[in-house]
């Protein structure tokens, strides 16, 4: 049998298809994040009040602008499917790379699970509006994950084109909602004067709200996972990422403005679907329907992008033998990392079925945060080991090292914010990464080929 198998006939290795353009990158980045404007961001209001939420929105916006700048420079130079994982491998070293790979897989798989849960809950509340209570959410959670995995399995172009369409529609619905509340005339629909209160917890509440402030943008850095599938990665990825960041800053501010002008903060701080509630308060059934569909689209786009990113990261870990090499295969017809896509399906579903939504979300946020902390010393070492001019950079970010230092400071503040109220989760998640690291050093690294990890055609780094 073995002799009949198709082997690499022209000795040309298999590779993923390069078919994406900057719009797909925008859709991948914004698509993952936009669900955060429909739900989740409002927990900042619960942790510190309405004004704290706005401050968190902008401070964390600054954090992500630093992330986008740093990431654009490194990614435009290290263009590979693992994204930050490949960067870590080339700049910091294997153990860091293994951890970064795990951050990516965990952050995206958990976020995917949360998104699928949202779709299920929406179906349930939709059924309630139409007079059917106790709809079972499970089949819709499974269907969401299964359908998106199937799409991802069959090819990246269709996957991200779908994301482009539904992300755009979801974003447009936020703009429509904003215009329909008559934003310029206060006191008619919007009641900011009456609803906005002083900071209920004082300034410590502002710091505490930074934790969920990450929901406004979490996942935008996933754009660089598409580096092996985009045409001219050095140009498209910075363009798509920066464009995405601007979209999100606008969307986040609009979201805050509309929601805080309609709901008392104590309600808003715990609402499950705040934008849908906002539409309900406006009393228009068309708006309500639009926000229902838009929330579903945002959740599907996010889950879709998450499957895409998590599978690329898992695939890269397998390709380098950091994880079982079995996962490093590419589908000969669809050119996707099909085994990784398939493997993550039961995992995402099982996370969704644990029912530990806030635990899952905290894990996702913290994995993201650990990744941003890594970016700070990654950037500083990158400029030190290959100073400007020694290798070609697709994009060079200005004001180095100010963005890196700002990013590190904001990361520390966000760890502290997580400590306030979620300290036990923080420690347990750190324990996971520490145990995984020890396991990697003692058992896993022996399967890795040393020199093969360094794939960039760069000169020897300074100081090594």
């Amino acid at each position: 049998m073995a002799s009949e198998k198709i082997t690499s006939s022209s000795s040309k290795p298999i590779a993923m298809l390069k078919v994406l353009n900057p719009f797909h990158i925008w859709a991948l980045g914004v698509g993952i994040v936009l669900v955060g404007e429909f739900m989740g961001w409002n927990f900042t209001v619960g942790k510190g009040g309405a004004y704290a939420s706005l401050i968190a929105c902008w401070v964390i916006g600054l954090l992500y602008t630093c992330v986008a700048m740093i990431d654009s420079e490194v990614t435009s130079t290290v263009a590979a499917a693992g994204g930050q994982y490949t960067q870590a491998k080339h700049i910091i070293g294997p153990l860091m790379a293994f951890n970064v790979g795990l951050y990516l897989v965990m952050a995206y798989t958990m976020l995917c699970a949360a998104d699928a849960l949202v779709v299920g809950d929406l179906m349930k509340s939709g059924a309630e509006v139409m007079g059917y209570t106790n709809l079972d959410t499970k089949p819709f959670v499974v269907l969401t994950v299964a359908f998106l995995a199937w799409l991802n399995y069959r090819g990246v172009f269709a996957t991200l084109t779908l994301n482009l369409v539904i992300t755009f529609l979801a974003f447009a619905s936020l703009i429509v909602l904003f215009l329909s509340v008559d934003p310029l005339s206060q006191g008619v629909v919007l009641q900011h004067q009456a609803l906005l209160t002083d900071l209920p917890y004082g300034w410590i509440g502002v710091v505490a709200s930074l934790q969920f402030g990450m929901w406004y943008y979490l996942g935008i850095e996933g754009t660089c996972q598409a580096a092996e599938e985009v045409r001219s990665a050095g140009r498209s990825i910075p363009l798509g990422t920066m464009g995405g960041m601007m979209t999100l800053l606008v969307a986040a501010t609009i979201t805050w403005f509309v929601a805080t002008g309609l709901m008392p903060w104590q309600y808003l701080g715990q609402a499950v679907t705040p934008m849908y509630d906002a539409a309900t308060l406006l009393g228009s059934s068309q708006l309500q329907l639009m926000l229902f569909v838009a929330t579903a689209f945002a959740a599907i786009a996010s889950a879709n992008g998450c499957i895409n990113d998590a599978s690329r990261a898992w695939f890269s870990l397998g390709r380098d033998r950091y994880m079982p090499v079995f996962f490093g295969a590419i589908h000969p017809k669809y050119r996707t990392p099909y085994r990784s896509v398939l493997f993550l399906v039961p995992i995402a579903i099982s996370f969704a079925f644990t029912g530990l939504l806030d635990q899952v979300i905290t894990f996702s946020i913290l994995s993201g945060l650990l990744g941003y902390t890594f970016m700070t010393f990654n950037m500083i070492k990158f400029r030190k080991m290959w100073p400007l001019g020694t290798i070609h950079r697709g994009y060079i970010h200005p004001f180095h090292p100010i963005p890196a230092i700002t990013l590190l400071t904001l990361c520390c503040a966000t760890y502290f914010a997580t400590f306030l109220g979620y300290g036990a989760s923080l420690l347990s998640i750190m324990a996971f990464y520490i145990l995984a690291s020890i396991w990697f050093v003692l058992r896993r690294y022996k399967y890795v080929k040393r020199a093969d990890q360094f794939t960039m055609p760069w000169p020897r780094p300074k100081g090594y």
């Binding site: 001219s232 000969p332 290798i391 960039m456 760069w458």
Partner: protein, 60 residues
Amino acid sequence: MKFWDILVYTAWSISAVMLVWMVVDAFMISSQYDEEYLMSSREGGEDDVVHGIHLEEGKE
């Protein structure tokens, strides 16, 4: 009432069909193609424009 029951069953069956299709396809691929070939991708494709520039500059 009936509509929602049918919807639930439909959702379960479509999910099952898609999952089974993917698993079957993955097995077919493993039996048709050589493992070495499926694993042969390398980081950073060789015909990449960006990497072409890297190579030239590396020689300087």
